[in-house]
């Protein structure tokens, strides 16, 4: 896992050349990048308010189906369409504890260089200066889901800190602590980091188009390794974009109608301001597990 690289798209842009598609929007890059990070998983769980991870999982599933690969199961908490659970809101955690969930997403009001996540608040505890909702299921899921993807669009020193003020969930654990899961990668609006559980630190493996290493260092509050093969985050292939803008968007609209509508609008007015840079409310460290 320590030598894991961001997998590139299995197909290339040339492959789908017959289908004329417009250039990828930043949000599409995020979705496609997450789908690649999920490659090989069989069961992904996604929070109720996490349309981008959900879209990525749907894309992964659509690709697997198209390739005849083993099916990917997607559980979207709070969805009716994608809710395979019948035992209340505890079932997600039970299922994860049984080893039946391969991937999950966590956000975080703060994420530090050791992969620690803070969903509780800043400053002292309990009288936090800024209080966020709380740890949700992170203090458990981070330990038992093999591939937790940290996803936070805002890439700033406010979010990516040297040390979190409160550890909702630690990035790594001492030897002898029961742990079958943990952080796999960190994806932001600027780039992709892979997590090295042995050394408990991040390694920058790719930057999104237009970002420089200097930009990333300036916006990151923690030290990180740089992959020798650091390059640009591979863009979506034509076939990925076709699936995403086609059946995935249709499917997404059933669960996240507002998000899908905005997505459509953004596609219509290509070249609009990068939507990834919108500030995120400090009280809402989504995507967090909303269960």
């Amino acid at each position: 896992m320590s030598t894991a690289r961001l997998p590139e798209g299995a197909d290339t842009a040339a492959e789908g050349a017959g289908t004329p598609v417009s250039a990828a929007a930043p949000r599409e890059l995020l979705i496609v990048t997450i789908a690649r990070l999920l490659k090989g998983v069989r069961h992904v769980a996604v929070g109720a308010s996490s349309p981008i991870p959900a879209a990525a999982a749907m894309l992964l599933r659509a690709r697997s189906e198209a390739e005849g690969a083993p099916p990917v199961r997607l559980s979207i908490l709070g969805s009716v369409q994608h809710n395979f659970f019948t035992n209340g809101s505890g079932e997600l955690f039970d299922c994860a504890g049984q080893g039946r969930i391969d991937a999950f997403f966590l956000g975080g009001g703060q994420i530090d260089g050791h992969g620690n996540v803070n969903l509780v608040g800043t400053g002292s505890y309990p009288e936090s200066s800024v209080r966020w909702p709380g740890s949700f299921g992170s203090a458990y899921l981070y330990f038992v889901v093999p591939r937790v993807i940290l996803f936070r669009e805002e890439h700033s020193r406010r979010v990516l800190v040297d040390r979190v003020d409160f550890v909702s969930a630690p990035g790594s654990s001492a030897k002898g602590i029961y742990r079958t899961g943990g952080p796999h990668a960190l994806l932001t609006s600027m780039g992709v980091f892979m997590f090295d559980p042995q050394r408990a630190c991040f390694r920058l493996v790719s930057m999104h188009p237009g970002r420089s290493l200097a930009d990333l260092r300036a916006a990151t509050g923690f030290d990180f390794d740089v992959d020798p093969a650091l390059g640009e985050t591979p863009p979506p292939s034509a076939s990925e974009l076709a699936l995403l803008r086609g059946c995935v968007l249709t499917e997404l609209a059933q669960t996240y109608p507002d998000f899908a509508a905005r997505f459509h609008t953004d596609l219509a007015r290509k070249g609009a301001a990068d939507p990834l840079d919108r500030p995120t409310r400090s009280t809402d460290p989504l995507p967090a597990p909303r269960t």
Binding site: G88, G90, A139, F143, P289
Partner: protein, 272 residues
């Protein structure tokens, strides 16, 4: 005994100092009881959120009824942070028992089973654990090498309060797939429910329906409260009124705004 009571009866049944279990925003919140409960004004409530809290919890805190809160999170979801909760936290006005969802479920399940505690993976190395003086870490007695494991004590609320689609006249309540409500009620000494409708036929008379029933055995009183979860939604019945949640979130940014919201809501309630 007739289990059908009024909403006010339920509110009056919740005494000061009560350890009160409340469902998460998606799981059937008895919102219709919130204003009557604030009117009754019990003090020093110890809330147990199953496993998270929303507007109801925020309102009870805003009204000054809450002494402690055990929860994995409190928020208004799409409408943002919970203003009264956040204010109370920053002022140190409530005692926080910050938890994580499966620990709440584990504690309730232990109480359901009459067990003193549950063991649970995860948590080691978190500040959640660090601040829970009421939890314990032991060395797993089944392991051959050192293996610290967290023990969570049984959570035994005094009263559980929920909203569900329907009940029958025997007091059976249909909760469908929302089985965390059953766990919450099993774990609690007493339980009250508001429902969208009361059906005449026993909900246990049909095996298909019965599979989703919380039996009358556990439920002390049921009140009719159509659309009683609003502004929250109720699965299979109606959606969340997000605009109202946002309206609340804005109003409750200040204590004064919160009180004005309460007064308006109470006035609307009185005239409707």
């Amino acid at each position: 005994m007739n289990p059908i009571v009024s909403i006010d009866d339920i509110a009056r049944a919740i005494p000061s100092g009560c350890r009160l279990a409340l469902p998460a925003d998606y799981a059937g919140v008895a919102m219709a009881v919130t204003l009557p409960l604030i009117r009754c004004a019990p003090r020093d409530l110890c809330l147990v959120c199953v496993p998270t809290g929303g507007m109801q919890v925020d309102m009870l805190i805003g009204a000054g009824l809450v002494r402690t809160i055990e929860t994995s999170a409190v928020s208004l979801g799409e409408a943002g942070g919970a203003p009264c909760f956040n204010r109370a936290v920053s002022l140190g006005a409530i005692e926080l028992l910050d938890s994580t969802c499966p620990a709440v479920h584990a504690g309730l399940t232990a109480a359901q089973k009459g067990a003193p505690f549950a063991s649970m993976r995860g948590l080691i190395g978190t500040d959640v654990l660090k601040h829970r003086a009421d939890w314990r870490v032991i060395d797993n007695p089944f392991a051959e090498s050192p293996d610290p494991v967290v023990l969570v004590p049984a959570i035994r609320p005094d009263i559980a309060l929920l909203h569900a689609p329907m009940a029958d006249r025997e007091g059976n309540v249909w909760i469908g797939r929302r089985r965390e409500l059953a766990t919450m009620v099993y774990a609690s000494r007493r339980a009250f429910a508001t429902v969208e409708r009361i059906v005449e036929r026993s909900l246990l008379s049909d095996e298909t329906v019965a599979a989703g029933v919380l039996p009358a055995l556990y439920v002390e009183g049921i009140a009719l409260a159509p659309r009683g979860a609003l502004p929250y939604g109720l699965w299979g019945e109606y959606g969340t009124d997000t605009a109202e949640l946002i309206r609340y979130a804005r109003a409750a940014r200040t204590g004064q705004g919160f009180r004005a919201y309460l007064e308006t809501a109470a006035a609307e309630c009185a005239t409707s």
